[in-house]
Subunit: 126 residues, 4 copies
């Protein structure tokens, strides 16, 4: 059993949900470098999804450098997840900056942002 899951009722394409799901597991360190992913057929059977859809998701993940595929052997998590994480963190911060900037134009104050951050980090410190 894997931790990859999809919501069939969602309007976001299934293959994108899988991409996002795997990307998350890798970026959060739950999936380790060079760890093997379930085979296309296995995941297809497990989730009840057509193999083509899984294949499309894996191709996209490979294109993004999250995983690599070795025909005949299977698909594996990129060896250098640290670099992936760093790159992703930068993207995250850029998006966050944009969001906050937008919020500012809609009269959100700096104090509200700070309070929000305090609240979130108070929940569980690590």
């Amino acid at each position: 059993m894997s931790v990859i899951s999809v919501d069939f009722r969602s309007r976001t394409p299934i293959f994108e949900q899988i991409v996002a799901s795997v990307e998350n597991l890798v970026l959060r360190g739950i999936m380790k470098p060079d760890e093997q992913l379930p085979s296309v057929r296995a995941l297809s059977a497990e989730l009840g999804i057509n193999p083509n859809t899984i294949q499309k998701a894996y191709s996209e993940l490979e294109r993004r450098g999250i995983i690599y595929s070795a025909a005949t052997r299977g698909s594996f998590v990129n060896s250098d997840t640290a670099a992936l994480r760093e790159k992703n963190k930068e993207q995250l911060l850029e998006k966050l900056e944009e969001s906050i900037r937008d919020a500012k134009t809609k009269s959100v104050t700096k104090e509200e942002i700070l309070l929000l951050a305090e609240k979130i980090w108070r929940e569980s410190n690590d």
Copy 2:
């Protein structure tokens, strides 16, 4: 001439772009309460878009309470934009909370968030 614009190449539906565009103008106070919107056929001609698409956008805006339509007279910005802004601000903060929470799981620190906020508000105070 209006400030409503669409990007034909974007993959987000044109009617949604129009909805977002008008919503933004209203929420940022650029469009005032009870101000009249361009007529469906006027905007259709201006943007070179099928009137059906404009109509769909206006219907959605009405459904969201951003604008109201008066039978033969046209469409107008909601009279109480302050309430709209307040409601929108809450939604914004919820989304922001979600984004920040996600960033936290990907090892973004509270300090980075605070620095980001400082930087943004330093740019121009209002």
Copy 3:
């Protein structure tokens, strides 16, 4: 009738042949900026190829920035083909450099390269 063609006997995937074919037409200036490509279904019928395969090729072309797709309206050549050409030329020169460097290690002389260039440019001057 378009100029896109495929060789079914070739071992290189059909979708890649289409990608290469369109890329060539664009980079050589035969297809102009914002020119419309045949629709997925039209090209599918013309070449006797499954629509999914065409779709895959078009997706790849879009990913590479060669074309852009506007759902409902069709697919079009990128507006700025000059930039594409420039970028492609750089890649070409890099690959050529690698090839020549390899040739050098296999005892091809500089004179042979120069003669080759002379011969090719003598064929038709432009």
Copy 4:
């Protein structure tokens, strides 16, 4: 220990990588005429690759005339590597001609080719 190496992540078949690797060593004169190649099982163990795959590579090398096999004694580099080198050089020049011709259609100039050659031969003369 040999200089033959494979990249498991590459999408080019492993047996082809081995073929190319050996071919290179021979054509560059690093492996001498009548030199013995590692046995199938030795190379299999060294690279951690299925013996069938090694066998397939050696068969292909034999088919191309790069090596010859003597029943129970093993595999050896072709006695006349000079001829091999000459033949390979011709193929190289043909491919190079094709590449340069393609570059020409994409507005690469003769001068750029000449400069490239100059640059490469300036690096180290031999």
